[in-house]
Subunit: 190 residues, 2 copies
Amino acid sequence: MGISERKTRERSERERRIIVAARTIAERDGWASVTIRRLAEEIEYSQPVLYSHFENRDQIVGAVALEGFGELAVILRAAIGPSSTAKERVEDVATAYLDFAFARPAMYEAMFVLPTGLRFARSDTPPQLRDGFGAMATVIAPFAQDVDTATETFWAALHGLAELERHGRIRPAFRAQRITLIMRMVSGQL
Amino acid sequence: MGISERKTRERSERERRIIVAARTIAERDGWASVTIRRLAEEIEYSQPVLYSHFENRDQIVGAVALEGFGELAVILRAAIGPSSTAKERVEDVATAYLDFAFARPAMYEAMFVLPTGLRFARSDTPPQLRDGFGAMATVIAPFAQDVDTATETFWAALHGLAELERHGRIRPAFRAQRITLIMRMVSGQL
DNA sequence: TTGACAAATTAGCGTCGCTAGATTATTTAG
DNA sequence: CTAAATAATCTAGCGACGCTAATTTGTCAA
């Protein structure tokens, strides 16, 4: 019988609506406006229903963040120009990363700042969380001996640039220069 | 008459007690535990008294953060070994910065993650907010043409390392290697 | 048709940041 | 020295939060 199939389908559709609503509200009004009450209203169910999908509010943020990691990975891979030099590829990825961070600040916040309950570096870590790292590793590899460590450091530099600029700590007008600097640093010719 | 002096003195002492209490609770139980109610109890005054010292909770976090910036600046300057080479000095500062971030995570969070209402890069920006940057600029200057931009980038790299490690995104065991990498990158010999 | 089980709701607990209005001190003026 | 004015502080409470217990409603099998 297809009844139970329909039910699980409807259930997962409802879950998607929760995630979409959370993301939409966060991007428009910030994460502080993403409350259980407001999400419940949005999906036209009572509040306790949300707790049959997610353990708590953090896990809803986590679900949005997980989407974000998937999208970031796609964007980074797509940014790597096929005819670019190794050095240009580093710049491609760096620029794409920061563009993502500034174009979707709420999403970026969910992915890297807010508590999400997501587990990294574990056996059950979802692939989305690894893919972005993989894209970075691809462009860093030509310049590094220890690729993992170099990629971690590259990623940290980008994350720091994103966060400090997002918080008004460094000058937005000099973003391109900073990227150039990181590129030169990675390719070893400061 | 010294009466009004005594009053303003007592008032600023009370303000200090608020800040100290906020910092203490944050370092022990996290910023979520720093509530107006708990602070009021700690200083043995009613809640509205806090609002005669600070506009809102964020500004209390900001007051703690401001202290943190002052302390970080001192620590960074003290870390610069007088007989160190230019390259070693970069490592000194980088290590001291990350030690600070990991030794006082709540303080670091107040300074760089939480909303604080602090204004950067303005005419009325307090000196504490500039000093740490100055210490970094000192050790970066020998390697850079545009010192400000290079310092921003160096700072961003450190901040990214601190944040990603704090959130379990990169491997704690490889912290030293990452610092080495940044050092090599800054001094141009990857 | 009824009884078991699942799905969803209502209602509410404890907590939060923040504030209006009342109360108690302190200063100033007559 | 008293009374009015002002400052300092408190009590009480508003609206909103995350979350959950207890109840009602819906759905299926015997």
